[in-house]
């Protein structure tokens, strides 16, 4: 065994100058071997390891999921622009990765998302309005994770891979016929927590699928700043399989994720799926991607659009007629309207909500501060009454206008 024989990802580049540039980085845009069942041109292809035989209904269902998800996402961006949301993290371009993997789960499975898994949430029947609460700033999540087996969004990148692993350890203890799928990004792959999750999952043979959406950007940093080899290869060194799938091919993602979940459910332990996709929009609505990436790159990826390719296929095969598309368009509009109206009607929490749910079993200081704050608030009501129109700085209006 020579040194070279143990190297993965080919030999790194020779020569080192004074720079810290990464060697052996893959060239941008070049896709390594990945599982594909539907080409960007909408051609069905076969793969020796993964097969899928979807019914027309299933195909239309996947298409519908992606279209509605994209519409929801677009509406959220608009709502952010209109000031109804403080922020939005768009999934534009990642619909296939999310719908494909989400549809591969079963009700008993449990999902641990990042902050961008709106498509996965859709497949779990989470009300889209629920997803908007944290972006509007009325809560930090707030849906009941147990209801749809869809955990709250996690913002601190990578953390949720450990929660997923722990949950999966629990599933194994319970002998449950279910698995966990834990999402993370290419950027998050660098976090120590993700490596620790791999270690725990492997050592306890936990039924968890790690699903990395490699959308090639972590805000402004390209994936080469995280790894010099494809991320799916990370798994082997922890003792479990990894696979890269075309993340813009909903059929391939569905097939690969289904197999991975089955692998986990059947007692074979964890698996890593890297969905090679692309973040077509900004990181979030506060981001300006023109500062760090080229139009050409975006355009190149536009040609691999996950929705367009399935539509091409559906149309070509005569699986979706005009009526279908018209109905879907109407459904999209209705969804957008429901979301729009719903957000605008979303009530702000009352100020006392700050003191709720800090603890499940109570805490004397929280009680004390709640009471003090209530008294303080009440004192304004009094002074506002008595000092009405006086313009004193202590009225609630002034408190809100000047105090911050």
């Amino acid at each position: 065994m020579s040194v070279k024989s143990t190297a993965a990802g080919g030999p790194p580049a020779k020569g080192r100058g004074r720079t810290t540039r990464a060697a052996g980085a893959k060239r941008r845009g070049e896709e390594p071997e990945l599982v594909q069942l539907l080409t960007p041109q909408g051609e069905r292809v076969e793969h020796s390891g993964y097969s899928l035989d979807p019914t027309p209904d299933e195909l239309r269902g996947l298409y519908r999921d992606m279209v509605l998800t994209r519409r929801f996402d677009a509406e959220a961006i608009t709502l952010q622009r209109q000031g109804e949301l403080g922020l939005w993290a768009s999934l534009l371009g990642q619909e296939a990765a999310q719908i494909g993997s989400g549809r591969a789960t079963r009700p008993a499975d449990y999902i641990f998302p990042t902050y961008r898994e709106h498509g996965v949430a859709w497949t779990r029947d989470v009300d889209p309005l629920n997803l908007l609460g944290m972006f509007r700033g009325v809560n930090n999540g707030g849906w009941d994770p147990a209801e749809n087996h869809f955990h709250l969004y996690t913002i601190v990148i990578g953390s949720q891979t450990l929660h997923g692993t722990g949950y999966a350890m629990g599933l194994a203890k319970d002998g449950a016929d279910a698995a966990v799928i834990a999402y993370f990004g290419d950027g998050a792959s660098s976090q120590g927590d993700v490596a620790e999750a791999f270690t725990f999952a492997a050592v306890y043979n936990a039924p968890v699928v790690f699903f990395c959406q490699n959308n090639q950007w972590a805000i402004s940093e390209p994936t080469e700043k995280q790894s010099r080899v494809p991320i799916y290869q990370r798994a082997a060194g922890f003792g479990f399989p990894g696979v890269r799938v075309d993340g813009n091919d909903v059929l391939a993602v569905l097939a690969v994720t289904r197999a991975a979940l089955e692998h986990a459910r059947s007692g074979q332990g964890p698996m890593l799926v890297e969905a090679f996709t692309y973040r077509m929009g900004a990181h979030t609505t506060t981001d300006d991607p023109t500062r760090y990436r080229s139009d050409e790159e975006r355009e190149e990826w536009a040609s691999k659009d996950p929705i367009a390719r399935l539509r091409t296929y559906l149309d070509k095969e005569g699986l979706a007629d005009e009526d279908f598309h018209a109905e879907l368009a109407a459904e999209s509009d209705a969804l957008a309207k429901r979301v729009r109206d719903g957000v605008r009607a979303m009530p702000d929490p009352g100020p006392m909500a700050m003191f709720d749910h800090v603890y499940a079993d109570g805490h004397a200081l929280v009680d004390e501060e709640r009471a003090q704050f209530a008294a303080y608030q009440a004192s304004f009501a009094d002074s506002a009454d008595s000092a009405e129109g006086s313009g004193a700085s202590r009225t609630p209006a002034a408190a809100h206008g000047k105090g911050h």
């Binding site: 147990a146 927590d193 270690t199 800090v358 200081l365």
Partner: protein, 341 residues
């Protein structure tokens, strides 16, 4: 609702027998009882299995409850707490052991960002009944990272509860209560007192987890301490008694929340307060107690609240720890200074 330690022991005595055992054994018995009572309770940590933990707190549990309940983990503290969060989401009640105080920091993010906030994030829809046991404090002649007192770094964080027993009976009961609590509890164990024996009343009705107790009544000055320093304060009270001074010792027991009512009642009786802990004074628990009690009892204080604790330096090498740790004399020095006001 102030209760003296004597009353507590009497209450215990009235409801059943007591057994003398060291704190380490009381913790071990407490864990055993929790494992027996609730199949959802798990023990997790480094070397907690076959070895029984480096302090033997989990001794025998692996043998009796198996590797499904008593889990030797990979050496990754963030992983231990992070997976405990996931297990709690699945309905388990993990009791996590951090091997030494100085090794909790790799898990700090998971504790502060996830464990502490998950219940609030979910608007109460999930619960995080996770106990993080941390042997803490110095005085055992150890190498770096094995003698620290980081409790303030947890008590500042909303969503966590922080407690520390000072004796065997509290060790037994407070650990039970922490495990039964639906909130995350950081459970600081006074490691240099592990082998100190005390009476444990296993059939008693225990004092509330977050209630302070008057460990020694007195009239001239109040000493507040918790964990390993309670013993030092009781010794100081005894020494002071020889000099004709009556010190009241309050065992705080809980650092988040703090039972300020009990401290306040004591201070309004004695008029003077000295807070003692091993942790550095600067930004330590003593600061919070001094600030709050001064606010509550401003007109009762005959002297400013004084603090005795660690210096603003890393915990020193073992040959210096006697000088570093607050001992009888430093406590009595502060008592003198307070009384001189």
């Amino acid at each position: 609702m102030t209760q003296t330690a004597t009353q507590a022991t009497q209450a215990a005595r009235s409801s059943g027998a007591t057994t003398s055992m060291p704190i380490a054994k009381a913790l071990n018995e407490s864990l055993r009882k929790a494992l027996e009572n609730d199949p959802k309770v798990l023990i997790m940590g480094e070397d907690v299995g076959r070895l029984g933990g480096v302090f033997r707190i989990t001794d025998g549990l692996y043998k009796d409850f198996g590797e499904d309940r008593v889990i030797d983990t990979p050496l990754a503290e963030s992983g231990i707490v992070g997976t405990a969060v996931g297990l709690a989401l699945r309905g388990y009640r993990p009791v996590v052991e951090i091997q030494f105080d100085g090794f909790v920091f790799p898990a700090y993010d998971q504790i502060v960002t996830q464990l502490a906030k998950m219940h609030a994030r979910a608007l109460g829809k999930v619960r995080m009944p996770v106990v993080v046991r941390i042997p803490y404090g110095g005085g055992i002649g150890a190498v770096e990272h094995h003698s620290e007192s980081p409790e303030a770094l947890f008590a500042h964080v909303a969503g966590l509860k922080v407690v520390s027993p000072s004796n065997a009976n509290d060790a037994y009961w407070m650990l039970q209560q922490a495990i039964e609590c639906d909130d995350p509890v950081i459970f600081f164990e006074p490691k240099r007192r592990y082998w100190d024996k005390g009476e444990v009343a296993v059939d008693a009705v225990p004092t509330g987890l977050h209630q302070a107790v008057v460990a020694q009544p007195g009239t001239d000055l109040t000493l507040v301490a918790y964990g390993p320093m309670v013993k030092v304060c009781l010794e100081a009270a005894a020494a002071a008694a020889n000099e004709g001074r009556s010190l009241e010792v309050v065992d705080l027991r809980s650092l988040s929340p703090i039972d300020f009512d009990t401290v306040q009642a004591s201070v309004e009786k004695t008029g003077r307060l000295v807070v003692v802990h091993e942790a550095p004074v600067f930004y330590g628990a003593g600061a919070e107690i001094a600030a709050r009690i001064t606010e509550r009892s401003f007109y009762h204080l005959e002297a400013p609240v004084l603090r005795v604790g660690g210096f603003h330096s890393p915990y020193p090498p073992a040959r210096l720890e006697e000088e570093y740790l607050p001992g009888l004399d430093r406590v009595l020095d502060a008592v003198d200074r307070s009384l001189a006001f």
